[in-house]
């Protein structure tokens, strides 16, 4: 590999200059790169799965912080997360409580995030990844092991998250939110009873709704939906035949349905841009908040296999080694595991925290979401029967990305 020829990486140069494209002011990136440090990323990456849990070694390069410290007054905590995935009120309250400034940067998809985090130049303290990139982050020594003395709220979590398969002993991660991936629609724009269909995923290929639909701009999530449609439950398949099937059906979808490819379903669908979409459960719960006053929240629907055999995942919070404020980062991690703070955050994002306080059976009665969106509730047992998106081996990862690239190129 050409990549092995150079030990020195100048990733910041890369990003700045290429993003600049034909607009030439890439000098800042060039200057930034002068200060970049080398990243050792050799060796194989372990791929955790529920059947093969992983206990990650404690990093030698990035040592855990000492216990008993407090955030420096006036310091800045840099957070990197999806847009609208953290309550502004939670951030403000934390700033006030600990006398720190929070700087929130956002990304659109996991690939974009990983690219920027890997540059190390942005000095993020906290990052909210999925577990499918955890192995890469740890192997590339980008994470700081956690000091659990700060995480006094850790026991608020569901028991099943105390010792997760993707990070035995929770050495690097805490769970953030849980979600399923299903189908969202508006009954005033889609007449079909999707939940009553033999195979609800077929709705995405129903030309009746061409130009009235969207799929998630997340390569793995969108492509695995094709597998589920065809009854393939290994949504991390490395078989070429499965990939060929995904390619054929995705290209067919593009040609016949003209789907919008986005992650902003939670605002677009309430706006009336389309009536049908692939959707994350948290976004579905959030849609009534964005509906115009003239539209009743009762038009919103969400479908996820009632037996739980669909895509179920959880996001994480990790402490990045590149950050300058690991103490405040630990305090923040503990804060979002607090019942009251998690409740505020849930109210804003719509994404369910896996805390004991939030009993799935009472979420509707407690007013967190309307009855018509109750299929969006994620239950603890869903993680036992559902299918998680896992990191793929490098060759398969490349092959999957190439199919997604072809789909998005519109060729």
């Amino acid at each position: 590999m050409a990549g092995n020829r150079l030990g020195a990486s100048r990733r910041a140069v890369v990003k700045g200059a290429l993003a600049a494209g034909l607009s030439f002011p890439a000098m800042s990136a060039l200057l930034t790169a002068c200060g970049s440090k080398n990243t050792s990323t050799t060796g194989a990456v372990k791929i955790p799965s529920p059947d093969a849990p992983v206990t990650w070694p404690v990093s030698k390069a990035n040592t855990p912080i000492e216990a008993g410290l407090t955030p420096k007054a006036g310091s800045t905590l840099r957070i990197y997360n999806y847009a609208d995935y953290l309550s502004p009120r939670v951030l403000k309250d934390f700033e006030k409580k600990h006398d720190v400034n929070i700087r929130l940067s956002t990304f659109n998809d996991a690939d974009e995030a990983l690219t920027k985090v890997a540059s190390k130049e942005l000095k993020f303290d906290l990052y909210f990844p999925s577990y499918d990139s955890l192995g890469k982050l740890i192997t590339a020594d980008l994470l700081r092991p956690l000091t659990h003395d700060y995480l006094t709220n850790y026991n608020n979590l569901w028991d099943s998250f105390n010792n997760p398969w993707y990070d035995r002993g929770a050495r690097y991660t805490i769970p953030y939110t849980i979600y399923s991936t299903g189908i969202g629609w508006r009954t005033d724009m889609v007449s079909t009873d999707i939940a009553g269909m033999d195979n609800p995923y077929d709705i995405f290929w129903d030309t009746k709704y061409a130009g009235n639909m969207a799929i998630l701009d997340d390569w793995h999530t969108a492509m695995s939906m094709v597998l589920l449609r065809n009854g393939v439950t290994d949504i991390n398949s490395t078989k070429q035949s499965d990939l060929d099937m995904i390619r054929t059906q995705l290209l067919d979808l593009r040609k016949t349905m003209r789907p919008k490819v986005t992650i902003s379903m939670y605002t677009d669908m309430p706006d009336g841009q389309y009536g049908l979409c692939q959707m994350w459960s948290g976004d579905a719960i959030n849609t009534p908040y964005y509906l115009p006053k003239s539209v009743s929240p009762s038009v919103m629907r969400y479908w996820f296999p009632p037996d739980g055999k669909g895509e179920v995942d959880n996001d994480l919070v990790v402490c990045l080694a590149q950050g300058d404020n690991p103490v405040a980062a630990h305090f923040f991690m503990n804060e979002i595991l607090d019942n009251h703070v998690a409740e505020q955050n849930f109210g804003f994002t719509g994404y369910q925290p896996p805390l004991k306080k939030f009993t799935p059976d009472t979420l509707v009665a407690d007013g967190y979401l309307p009855q018509n969106l109750s299929p969006a509730i994620v239950r603890e047992q869903d993680f036992k029967v559902g299918y998680p998106l896992l990191q793929l081996p490098p060759e398969s990862d490349t092959a999957w990305h190439q199919v997604w690239q072809e789909f998005k190129a519109g060729g």
């Binding site: 150079l6 990323t41 690219t115 890997a118 490098p394 190129a409 519109g410 060729g411």
Partner: protein
């Protein structure tokens, strides 16, 4: 001998022009040549085996052409899935540029020739769109073009109920978005060019018996041709790399342009080098209008002469 000595440049003047050119040369070297070399080092570089991040290779002797070959093969090879986006880009940009010109030229002409004392006010009005960011202007259109947005409501008159899904991957919407976004950039250079045409020349043409149309065709248009080429360059080049308009007003792969290919590649681990290949393609393609511009400038000078 004495005459010959007088014509000799004063001492030190030989260095004057190179010295004056130095800041511009340094500027160009730093902000154009260096980034371009970085792009090439990425394009012909490697990929980190774990994070799939690009690893630039600075020594051209070690360059690896895999990424470029991959892009090239998928443009001209047996599975040319990049080609439609390239064709689309040329098509969208050409149509948008022509539409921009059709809108901008009369506006600039009127402002330069007939606005009178309102010229200043009109100019301020023309510059006004620059005060609002491009993104905000496009977002405003997202609201207007929603299925139940103002545009559909305005078109629904009487018994007619217009239900056009403008934002669902329509080329028309993307082209109109490009026209709306870039037309102010075209008006200003056109105005500057038309405003500089000496009025006595136009009066002379009329005195010599030319009709209004002939005066325009034989005097105004040739004299404004350079401004037209400049304004087309100013709008066409950024349009070639535009991805934002398509992202906001369509979001569908069916309307992907080369800018979207670049953006997607930059943000996808393992594909960043391919973005460099697309950048290189745009660079080569944009040389053509540059050459046209130079030729047009020369012919403009000929006309003036």
């Amino acid at each position: 001998m004495a005459d010959g000595d007088d014509r000799r440049p004063p001492p030190g003047s030989r260095l004057l022009w190179p010295l004056l050119a130095l800041p511009g040369t340094v500027w160009l070297a730093l902000l154009f040549v260096a980034p371009l070399y970085v792009v090439l080092a990425i394009l012909f570089g490697g990929v980190d085996p774990i994070l799939r991040e690009p690893v630039p290779v600075w020594n051209p002797l070690n360059w690896d052409f895999t990424q470029f070959t991959y892009v090239w093969d998928h443009i001209v090879g047996h599975a040319p899935f990049f080609r439609p986006a390239l064709v689309r880009t040329v098509l969208y940009v050409t149509i948008s540029s022509v539409l921009c010109l059709l809108v901008a030229y009369p506006v600039a002409y009127f402002t330069a020739r007939y606005a009178g004392r309102w010229k200043g006010v009109l100019l301020a009005a023309l510059i006004a769109p620059f005060w609002i960011s491009y993104m905000m202007r496009m977002l405003a259109w997202v609201n207007l073009l929603q299925t139940d947005g103002l545009v559909n409501r305005a078109l629904s008159v009487g018994f007619f109920h217009v239900h056009v899904d403008w934002l669902q991957g329509h080329a028309t919407t993307v082209v109109l978005g490009l026209v709306y976004g870039y037309v102010p950039y075209m008006i200003l250079p056109l105005f500057a060019g038309l405003d500089r045409i000496p009025v006595p020349m136009l009066e002379a043409a009329r005195d010599l018996g030319a009709s209004r149309w002939e005066t325009f065709r034989r005097v105004t248009w040739p004299l404004s041709r350079t401004a037209v080429v400049v304004s087309l360059l100013i709008t066409t080049l950024p349009m070639l790399g535009d991805y934002f308009t398509n992202d906001l007003l369509s979001g569908s792969p069916s309307t992907s342009m080369i800018g979207n290919l670049i953006n997607n590649s930059v943000l996808t681990p393992g594909q960043t080098g391919q973005a460099g290949a697309f950048v290189l393609i745009i660079l080569v393609v944009s040389i053509v209008p540059m050459v046209l511009y130079v030729r047009s400038t020369r012919s403009g000078q000929d006309v003036m002469t």
